[in-house]
């Protein structure tokens, strides 16, 4: 019996045990907030889909997601830095420079202000020049 077989047997067994423990032993006092489906950021919508929701939340969420994904690219360079040597290092630096510029852009445009008046959402499309 090799390691992978043990893994395939052990993981389901452990999962079932943990779930059963949860069902059997945990205190169960439901209220409305607990039994509703969990959607992060705002309350889930029933029936009517015309309820207002916060666009800023999605904006910040999407921007976070992008940067999270890009940071993921740091992992391969971390483990292969000895193999790709100085060339790979500089490529990675260029990549992160571009990423930083993107961050400067979104910060400068005010996309990260969540509820502020400075948020990019609230700004009009036309630049108000002072002249």
């Amino acid at each position: 019996m090799n390691a992978i077989t043990i893994l395939f047997i052990f993981v389901p067994v452990l999962t079932v045990i943990l779930l059963m423990t949860n069902v059997l032993l945990a205190a169960h006092r439901p209220d409305t907030e607990k039994v509703t489906a969990y959607e992060c950021g705002f309350s889930p919508i029933y029936g009517q889909t015309r309820a207002p929701f916060s666009i800023q939340y999605y904006l910040v969420g999407i921007l976070f997601l992008i940067f999270d994904l890009e940071i993921l690219l740091l992992y391969p360079i971390a483990v292969t830095l000895y193999n790709v040597s100085i060339y790979g290092f500089w490529i990675a630096i260029i990549f992160f420079t571009v990423l930083t510029l993107g961050f400067v852009y979104e910060l400068g445009k005010g996309a990260l202000y969540f509820t502020d008046q400075r948020s990019a959402i609230n700004r009009t499309t036309i630049a108000q020049d002072e002249s």
């Binding site: 852009y105 009009t124 499309t125 036309i126």
Partner: protein, 536 residues
Amino acid sequence: MAIFGHLKCASVLCLALTVMLVLGIFSLMTAVALPNVNISPVLLTRVASIVLLYAAALSFNALDIQAIGSGVGIYSGLFQVSSVSQSVDTFIFLVGAMILLPWAPVTNTVMAGARSVFSAVPTIAEYPLMILFTTCGATFLVSSADLVSIYLSIELQSFAVYILATLYRDSESATSAGLKYFLLGGLSSALILLGSVLVYAYTGLTNLESIFALLSVGGVENLTTGLGPCIIGLTILVVGFLFKVSAAPFHNWSPDVYDGVPTIVTTWLAIMPKISIFVLLLELQSGFGFTGASLSLLVNGVPFDVWKNLLLISSLLSLIIGTVVGLAQYRIKRLFAYSTISHVGFLLLALAVNSEESIESFLFYIVQYSITNLNAFLILLAFGYMLYSSVGRKDGYGTDVQFISDIAGQFRANPLLGLALTLCLFSMAGVPPLIGFFGKQMVLYSATHSGYYFLSFVAIIVSVISASYYLKIVRVIHFDTGNVEDNASTLSQEIKLSNVHSFTIATLTMAITLFVFKPSIILNSTSLLALTLFHY
């Protein structure tokens, strides 16, 4: 050793081009973002225009390298620079720089209108930035020689164009058109990706030259074994490209999108992505020809050329649909969209014939199509500024001309602009002394020479029919009585067109009209480029 010197020189020059564009993007991005840097968007647009002109000069410079004739692989073979790609780069940059020029003059009335309506002037700082991004993608696309680089550059080009389409985010029509463009563009990108994946899965290759070499081995009898799936993959890839250039069975998105987005963006949409994707198709085709490969199947022992037939069918449908459906349009940008589809039919015909003559006519047609369409859209923008910049439209379309009837009787109010638009439309219809006639004539001449009589016949009939809708606009401009009298805007003394804008229109109109007296500049370059594709 001299050849290595040349190669190094070539890659350095191409690198210079990329660095120019990328530095332009970075500096504009920083300038747009930083709140303390107070540069007006008009200035940023001019800077972007100058960046594009410099890039045009750089790419033109690279033509002097001898080794470039047969093509030089750069960036470890991901891109292939040839004389065709460099010349098309130059052309793309020049046209792009010209599209950046049409701005309404920023006067106080206009700015007040901009605040109350929403988009009287495109004073949006991101506009030049997006233009640089999409131009970057377009120039990468014409020189890419690998499935990976093709996909990445086509996405770079398209994403920036999706953002351009929704640039006026307060406008309902622009937002919905942009969303539609994004969804259908995403669909076609998915097709391209699916095609690439099939090719890679069954050959293990992404480099185009290796794929062509593999395909040149012989006819494929079965679609499911051997190289068959690779052929299916390449076909799906081409279908994706045809989707992007809105060739006929895949054209349905383009009228809606062109109509919905602001005219200044329609100008970009109708011209730039088409140039780059058509040139990519040309390079794929010449790559096939170079290795002696063909995208053909053996059906009962008879070779059936999938590539050529795909292009020919698409061309036939584009010609017919672009013309017949265009007859029923009363919104001017929808009409231009259908006229674009019929021009795409001509381009595909010239591409599919694939003789030296026809490739020459194909390149020439691209040039004349871009110049004429660019001029037509610039004039539409100018009409919009003249009519609405001081009064503003009531229906929330900014200063864009929406209906053909909007410009009724404008020949009397603005004779020169009216005349210029008339010349453009005549050129599109193919009336003899203008540049459009020579484009159509060369395409038809090469097609009949190679024995494509049916399609040439269809093309001739169709261009007669399409003349009727161009003439309809001409009639409306010249003879209909519009609401010129009660329009106070025509009487005010305020400047309504910027100098650069009117200068560009004048130059382009002159180029269209006087081409017949000095045709050698464009004709010689296109015929030389066509020859480099066949004789290196």
